[in-house]
Symmetry: C2
Subunit: 383 residues, 2 copies
Amino acid sequence: MKRNLLLTPGPTKVPPQLCAVLGQPIIHHRTPEFQDNLKTVVQGLKDIIQTKNDVYLLASSGTGGMEAAVVNILSPGDTAIAVDSGKFGERWVDLCRTYQANTIVHKVPWGKAPTAADIKKLLAAHPEAKAVYITLVETSTGVVTDVKSIGEVIKHSKALLVVDAVSGLAVEDLQADAWAVDMVVSGSHKGLMLPPGVAFISASSKAIAMINACPTPRLYFDLREAKKALDKTDTPFTPAIGIIIAMVESLRMIKHRGLQNSFKHFAHLAEGTRAGCKAIGMELFPDPACASIALTAVKVPAGIDGEQLTKAMRDTHGISIAGGQDQLKGKIIRIAHMGAVEESDILVGLECLEKVLQDMGHTFARGASLTAAQKAFNTAAKV
Amino acid sequence: MKRNLLLTPGPTKVPPQLCAVLGQPIIHHRTPEFQDNLKTVVQGLKDIIQTKNDVYLLASSGTGGMEAAVVNILSPGDTAIAVDSGKFGERWVDLCRTYQANTIVHKVPWGKAPTAADIKKLLAAHPEAKAVYITLVETSTGVVTDVKSIGEVIKHSKALLVVDAVSGLAVEDLQADAWAVDMVVSGSHKGLMLPPGVAFISASSKAIAMINACPTPRLYFDLREAKKALDKTDTPFTPAIGIIIAMVESLRMIKHRGLQNSFKHFAHLAEGTRAGCKAIGMELFPDPACASIALTAVKVPAGIDGEQLTKAMRDTHGISIAGGQDQLKGKIIRIAHMGAVEESDILVGLECLEKVLQDMGHTFARGASLTAAQKAFNTAAKV
């Protein structure tokens, strides 16, 4: 009976309550019953995005939602500022360049976050910019962006603030309306604890005006059609029915815990995970000032191959964590605590990490990570 | 305990065997275990498409797959021939026009199929055409296209033959290689008996050469990236993991019955359904010469509102069939027999249809549709 514990930064583990819904026969999408589900989901998504803006649902993974945030706003030659602080920031750059925008790339060293001051300077240098594309949680590095302060410097400009919150939504606080975020893109398979296959995107009135004025050809991701459909509680094309219906329950679970409690819960998990890793000689990779509570990225001890470590945890013990990407390949591991992850999952993950590190010849006090995590869990305010 | 029987032309009913798989926790997609699933699915899809060509998987509904077949082939000003014989043919036209192709629209009256002679003439008039876009089963009218004879007239031209087989794959025979079909687009939620959320598309070497030469900007639906990923048993972006894993079982079920037996099975269901409808005064809508075995579209008796009929069947009796669209609204009903539909489902559907027709004041011999269907089912060769 092989274990299958996902501590990966997406997809995240699907809890039994949601598996039960996913295993039910689907209903047709052109029915009042499905419309009730759609209405509940759209309202639930507005609640977690903390917005009164429209939220459109797309049958795609997160990148499809990101593409929608580009093809509906930019046309060739338009200026866009894209923040690249890791793999997902790179995706904004790729999208902006693919659609022939004049792409101003703001490179941030891996492990650091862009600052509001940086964005202010860039906007002053490029007042014609139509949008600034940022990433809420850069999972490749474990960094969270200070969206609030960036919102402050963008809100009086003509540019939209577009946030990739595929990772981080319902995990890190993101107050779209209060922080002047024009578009939030996210998906079903991280904070929402469901399989991948649904993306969603919010749009402020400022964004909608730009969407309506944008001449870039698009059909599947055309948010003008998504808006028309939403106004009739519909989707322009066949939606990912199964996942949307399960999202009713996922959003109910999140609401039941409460958003503020969720943020505390993930901070609590992060604290325990980091204490555990530190106790066996694994230091946090990102600058602690901008380390996200959605995942813990830590450096692999000297002499240990991070790729081999994650492979052994997965193939021998059935616990999936993530390794490093690109220049971090083999050098860090990433343990996610998003979605349905609980204290016990972290303890199981750390125990396995110790086992494999020991097998690989790393020297440390066996049990130290568990003791440290347990202590942190018991000290920190519980949710 | 409200019944929920889908006799709609997509989504179709999800059988219990597939619900069971859909209700299992997902695994991560960057694992050897998922790669095994992906390999099996790609091979299974090749088998039902009857091709040795590449098959790419996309996380989208069918329209996303159709968009991929346009943005990877056409650039602005390129000539494309789009056959419009109903709502799904219209979608090819919309896509070609959206992406600024010189779109030659071949309008076919609703209920009729395009002929090879028509296409031959069009190709002679537009030898520069890069592609001919057709629809295997036009569900809005219940018509199947003779892909084989159209393939004959296209194969020696420079144009690609692109078939929307979202409806009809694994229901109607479609021999992609033998009939010289360059691209077949389909999805998870019709013949494959799964929820919507996965599209897939095959590409011949002639298609791949055009994909590689096409300068149209695209990222999410970029088939060059899909090919690179497929060659490493991967997908360029996060796949719809849950549905893909369930597709292993869906394809196994189809293989177990055998493709040829499936075609016979659906012909058999069509025969019974049509006999049943005829017995209570409902004539086939499409030209019988091109009526698809994927669904039965029949005219509603004079004085009966088809919209009200389908609504009553669904809301009062829990049986979903489809009404007519556009000019056929209220005038026809459509009973699908794709995917997991069995004789008993058709009998239950006809019984309900009789009940509602009687309530609506239609005069006919009560029980006549059941007797006729039963007779046809028992006469026709059983699978």
